[in-house]
């Protein structure tokens, strides 16, 4: 009897032990080690040469111009990507929400970029954005518009990267919103129609609140994802020109070979920022999100 009790007591722990072991090994340990590294002037190859320097790395981070530059780039990038993607995918989703063969076809088309690897996409756009021979400038010139320097000037580089990310991400979010739209019960719309509600009012008062959980989900996922943007920057600009597209993660990446302690400290800062953002989102928005 006692034995059985003991078994009951330990069984749940035993059951989650493999998963916990994985989490400890691959999530908790790296995070703790990151924190540890951030307090050192760390020499990766020769531990004897590492120096404990307390919070000096953090002090350095907050006194360096290039950190603020990459932070503001990241914020602009995130805001740009999140706002543009949300708006565009909402519009497209509303347009595509009626089931028809044509709409299914268009939806598949919009979704395709999401299937392709972001690296290939970035490379293709890199060609198209080449200022002298690229396709985009060819189109602009053909339309009689002034060509852009795209990735080659610090004024337009960040915008170009945002453009590619939005183009790549839209299909996926359209899919989520379309599914949400189709799950709204038609009886609500029928009731609204009986009350002679205007189309705009139906959209604001019914459609939007009904899909708000999905929109909230997209907002959180995309903000976090955009804050960690790396691949497009790595392939298309390498953080340039003159740090115009240097984002936080790329900044960490750049410092990894030369100063791993500093890079880790930046990693800790990035983690804090994302944690804070997520927390604020949940506190502010969860009250406004309509759950059925």
């Amino acid at each position: 009897m006692d034995k059985k009790r003991l078994g009951e007591l330990f069984r749940p722990y035993l059951m989650i032990a493999p998963a916990m072991a994985g989490i400890c090994l691959f999530v908790l340990y790296p995070i703790i080690f990151l924190g540890y590294l951030s307090l050192y002037d760390y020499n990766l190859m020769n531990k004897a040469k590492s120096k404990f320097i307390g919070f000096e790395n953090f002090a350095e981070i907050f006194s360096r111009g290039d950190f603020y530059k990459s932070l503001s780039n990241t914020v602009i990038y995130t805001a740009g990507v999140v706002v543009l993607t949300l708006l565009l995918s909402l519009v497209i989703a509303v347009w595509l929400s009626k089931k028809s063969k044509f709409n299914v076809f268009v939806q598949a088309g919009i979704f395709t970029p999401h299937v392709v690897s972001i690296v290939s996409i970035a490379l293709v756009w890199l060609w198209m954005m080449e200022p002298n021979l690229g396709f985009l400038n060819y189109v602009l010139k053909a339309l009689g518009l002034p060509p852009s320097q795209w990735l080659q000037s610090s004024e337009s580089a960040l915008m170009s990267v945002i453009l590619v990310s939005v183009w790549q991400g839209i299909g996926y979010y359209v899919l989520i919103i379309v599914a949400a739209l189709q799950s709204i019960s038609p009886s609500i719309y029928e009731a609204a129609a009986l009350d002679n509600a205007s189309k705009l009012k139906v959209f604001w008062k019914i459609t939007l609140p009904m899909i708000s959980p999905q929109l909230f989900f997209i907002l959180v996922i995309m903000t976090i994802g955009s804050f960690k943007v790396f691949d497009t920057v790595k392939v298309m600009t390498g953080g340039g020109p003159n740090n115009a597209t240097n984002t936080l993660v790329y900044y960490i990446f750049e410092n990894r070979t030369t100063n791993i302690g500093y890079a880790s400290a930046t990693g800790v800062v990035l983690m804090m920022i994302i944690a804070l953002l997520t927390f604020v989102y949940f506190r502010l928005l969860s009250r406004r999100v309509h759950y059925q």
């Binding site: 493999p18 990766l44 190859m45 290039d66 200022p131 070979t257």
Partner: protein
């Protein structure tokens, strides 16, 4: 009880799986090596045979040449087997090497981009090769002096040259002859010649005078041509600020860029872009590595020539490419030295690789060898590259160079792409460099 047992079984299985994951990783890298040099993989080795790991950064055709070299070594050495692994570009190799050293799984011998040598040496992970050199009776004077700038650290010999290059002027002689121009020897001549070569159609430039890849190499070359130094003598600041050299160099570049005499390419893939434009005749001259001579000679159908980089006050050029180093943690240092010695001095060592690839010969006996003499007689362009080495000077050696380099890139981008004020940009750069150097 039974359930518990199954749980334990499952646990063991899972842990086994995890371990297998770890194993399969090393397994797959092993596979990669055997793929890259399948030919050198000999079936079952004798028991006392020493296996050496050699990491390099040569992909493509040059990778095949390295593999062929390793094969030659393995065939001539019964007791040593070298396993070469391509680790990606120079920077990738450096990152992987850092991690490998940290985890105790570093190779015995590695190719190391020369600018990173000091960073590794400072961490005391590179073996001093002086005793080995003495033991084999090789004099340090045997090596080409201009290529030894990155070999010493605190009086230790931590690396030896392997695939080394230097920037040089590549010229489309046909275009110059058409216009009755000669190959420029000074900055003024370069300015005149390059401007004369510009072709404009409907307000758009269809041919530029000259170009250079996006790199720190070429501005550094120009800094030393104007008798500046990248770092000052005591390594506390940069050596081209107070004397006005930096302002002069970048003003010159900017002036040329504005007229179309200089085409400054986009940062990404700039080397290929510049080479492509040169092949198509869209730019008449380029500053580019000697490592491109082989490829360009094959690809162009015009009269192609190389020349020294034009001088300002003096002829000067930095060097580049990679050295070879022995890791201090290696367990087979004797064998590792034998591999390095063989590469450096044996006629069957790196010499065929040098001959085919276009990298510079790095020992006196190499230069005097019949093969090199024949090659130079056939392709005088290659000799120019070696002759220029008498002016080779590297003024950017410092442990912090990789970090300073990043700031220097930012400065180049600010000036060349965004046309920011040169003096203000150099002010910022100087401040950043001093901060890094002070650490």
């Amino acid at each position: 009880m039974k359930k518990k047992l199954t749980m334990f079984l499952m646990l063991t299985l899972l842990i086994g799986l995890l371990a297998a994951c770890g194993n399969s990783n090393t397994g797959s890298t092993g596979n990669n090596t055997s793929e890259t040099d399948a030919a050198s993989n000999q079936p079952s080795a004798p028991a006392e045979k020493v296996t050496l790991q050699f990491w390099h950064s040569m992909g493509g055709t040059n990778g095949e040449r390295i593999d062929a070299m390793i094969k030659r070594f393995n065939e001539s050495h019964e007791n040593i087997e070298v396993i070469g692994t391509f680790q990606g570009g120079y920077d990738d190799t450096v990152t992987k090497l850092q991690q490998a050293v940290a985890s105790g799984s570093a190779p015995d011998v590695s190719m190391l981009e020369r600018a990173y040598v000091e960073m590794f040496a400072d961490s005391e992970v590179l073996e001093d090769m002086k005793p080995y050199l003495e033991q084999s009776g090789i004099s340090e004077d045997e090596f080409t002096e201009g290529l030894m700038g990155h070999s010493y650290f605190n009086d230790q010999l931590v690396s030896l040259p392997l695939n080394r290059s230097t920037p040089i002027l590549h010229v489309n002689k046909t275009l110059l002859d058409e216009m009755g121009l000669t190959i420029p020897k000074t900055w003024e001549e370069l300015e005149q010649t390059a401007n004369a070569l510009v072709v404009k159609e409907n307000g758009e430039i269809t041919r530029y005078g000259f170009s250079m890849p996006y790199d720190t190499w070429y501005p550094i070359a120009m800094i030393s041509q104007a008798e500046g130094k990248f770092f000052n003598e005591d390594r506390t600041s940069i050596g081209f600020y107070d004397n006005g050299v930096g302002l002069k160099v970048f003003s010159q570049l900017k002036k040329l860029q504005e007229t179309g005499a200089l085409y400054y390419p986009p940062a990404t893939d700039s080397g290929n872009i510049v080479n492509g434009m040169f092949k198509e005749g869209k730019v008449a001259m380029i500053y580019q590595s000697t490592g491109s001579i082989g490829g360009l000679t094959e690809a162009v159908d015009f009269d192609y020539a190389t020349a020294f980089l034009p001088q300002d006050k003096v002829y000067a050029n930095p060097t580049g490419g990679a050295n070879v180093a022995m890791l201090a943690a290696s367990k087979n240092k004797e064998a590792a030295w034998e591999f390095i010695r063989w590469m450096e001095t044996d006629p069957q060592g790196a010499l065929p690789f040098i001959l085919e690839s276009g990298y510079l010969p790095f020992t006196k006996s190499m230069v005097e060898s019949q093969e090199i003499k024949d090659l130079w007689a056939k392709e005088p362009n290659r000799k120019v590259a070696y002759d220029q080495l008498q002016y080779a000077v590297d003024t950017n050696n410092d442990v912090t160079w990789p970090e300073v380099m990043h700031e220097f890139f930012s400065a180049i981008e600010a000036i060349m792409y965004d046309s920011k004020d040169i003096q203000a940009t150099l002010d910022t750069f100087k401040k950043e460099a001093e901060r890094i150097l002070a650490d």
